[in-house]
């Protein structure tokens, strides 16, 4: 039995196009920001916010909401686009991205932005913060889930593996980490910069349950999260993705990690995403 209907999948796919358009627009208008990792993780965030997570944009402080923490904090364009679309704050705010006085800072700033659950920016912080929140939820006997998205470059940080040990020790089965496995980081291919493979056994040996999926396939994302919720240990979903997904000339191109598009590139990219 499919865990998500084909009609629902089609809806999510349509939503992801809108989100990708907003990502491009924000970075183009700000003339700064991280496009590649935002486009690449858009399907993961769409599946979480529009299908999997229990949350209420009108009540961002609702105690029972599921939490999402963007540990790869440079990818604010995707989370801001999603939060605005969900109604956490007005869509017009997206035009203020990276401008002085805006609540939409270059990296997530929890005190200012409705829906942002933790401040990140230095890679590695978010997964530990999520572990702390998940532990706190257990102490308070609450049942919500804590989702945290890490980049594959990010998990080269020692802090990530400290968090991994910690989550295993305290059996944080309410913590679901997702690794955006796009094989790219700032300076190149992850296996050239600092090899991570074989990745699944690393997490397994740290006491985590591992699911490897196609991070652009909604059926697989939903199935993996549903399995994760049944686990009695922390779970990591290794989501194989394409950095820059959705814009052909940005896909799998390291240059699009942190470069804003010029007008012609922006127009060409938007043209590829006009099939809503």
């Amino acid at each position: 039995m499919a865990e998500i209907s084909t009609e629902e999948i089609a809806q999510l796919a349509r939503k992801s196009v809108e989100i990708r358009r907003n990502i491009l627009t924000m970075v183009f208008e700000a003339n700064s920001g991280h496009i590649g990792g935002s486009l690449g993780s858009a399907d993961l965030l769409v599946a979480l916010y529009y299908h999997l997570m229990v949350h209420d944009p009108k009540n961002p402080a609702w105690k029972k909401r599921d939490r999402f923490i963007l540990s790869k904090g440079h990818c604010t364009p995707v989370i801001y686009a999603v939060l605005a679309d969900c109604g956490y704050f007005p869509q017009e705010d997206l035009q203020t991205f990276r401008r002085p006085g805006s609540h939409l800072q270059g990296h997530p700033f929890q005190p200012k932005t409705p829906g942002i659950e933790a401040s990140t920016g230095t890679l590695g912080l978010g997964i530990s913060t999520a572990a702390g929140m998940a532990l706190a939820a257990k102490l308070k006997k609450e049942n919500q889930y804590y989702y945290v998205l890490c980049g594959d470059g990010e998990i080269q940080e020692g802090q990530v593996w400290e968090a991994a040990m910690f989550a295993n020790k305290y059996k944080l089965d309410n913590l679901i980490a997702i690794v955006d496995r796009n094989y790219l980081q700032t300076d190149g291919n992850s296996e050239d910069i600092m090899p991570l493979d074989p990745l699944a056994p690393k997490w397994e040996s740290f006491g985590w349950q591992v699911h490897s999926i196609d991070g652009h396939d909604y059926g697989q994302i939903v199935a993996a999260v549903n399995r994760a919720k049944k686990a009695s240990q922390p779970v990591v979903i290794i989501a194989n993705t394409i950095k820059g997904k959705g814009v052909s000339f940005m896909e799998n191109k390291v240059e699009w990690h942190g470069m804003p598009p010029v007008k012609e590139e922006f127009d060409a990219a938007m043209k590829e995403l006009d099939h809503v």
Binding site: R98, R99, P100, G106, H107, G121, T122, E154, D187, I193
Partner: protein, 311 residues
Amino acid sequence: MYNLKKTRQGYADALIELGAVIPNLVVLDADVAKATQTCDFQAIYPDRFFNCGVQEQNMLSVAAGMALEGFIPFASTFGVFATCRAGDQLRNSIAYPQANVKIGATHCGITTGGDGASHQANEDIAITRSFPNLTILVPGDYEEAKMVTKLAANHHGPVYLRFGRDAYPVIDEIHGPVVIGKAKILQDGNDITLISTGIMVSEVLQAGKNLHQKGISTRIIHMPSIKPLDEKAVISAARETKGIVTAEEHSIIGGLGEAVAGIASLHHPTFIERIGMRDVFGESGQAQELMDKFGLKATEIVNAALRILKR
């Protein structure tokens, strides 16, 4: 108008020149080689370049290890990560045992811009100043960035080099040689003293012009060497002028201003105003917008000087 050039480019260009003459010089980076621009060194000397991935802590202690084996490592990353994420490695692997490691820290200060507060190192001078044994050099432009990089390579012991992200005015007045522990007196004067470090030199020079138009005789000092600091230059300024305004693209806590105040208070207490980030985190924006917003411009320096002269 000034020519604009990146100080981090000065770092990268100097490393390439050094690579040709110092065979045991190696460059390390932590997945920001395109931003620190050490990728230029990598292109020419691939065998002497080591990308550590997103692992600043590991990188700094690895650099210490290579130094113990006789290499001269230049470990490169953003200032926040070099001093905060890897602060312990900088302290206990490098400064304390006096490892011959050079830290090339880029993206320092508010002009880092759009990435926002998390990436703007406004406290790195304060942190590094408090570590014994560490020499701290803060260049004011591209040429001075090249000079301090070369100086660091030829100086035995740990050195912290501070660079920015943006392109900054190239200023002929500061192109005399950098000497560790020595200030550069750019202009003599006996009413008030302005002291800059780093890229604030252009604002200080502008402030000096504005004060001159008001008939105020202004001494202008530039300090690329933050530690050791030129105590003599500070003491004479304190003695010979009514007071001192310091200007740094850094917090007013723990940086140039407090270093100057510390020396003056011991030898010749005087009025000192500190221009810098006023104990607040920065935010996202363009470099010059943020310089304005956080009061790091020439007008603030002029106003501070006038306040002192009125006292």
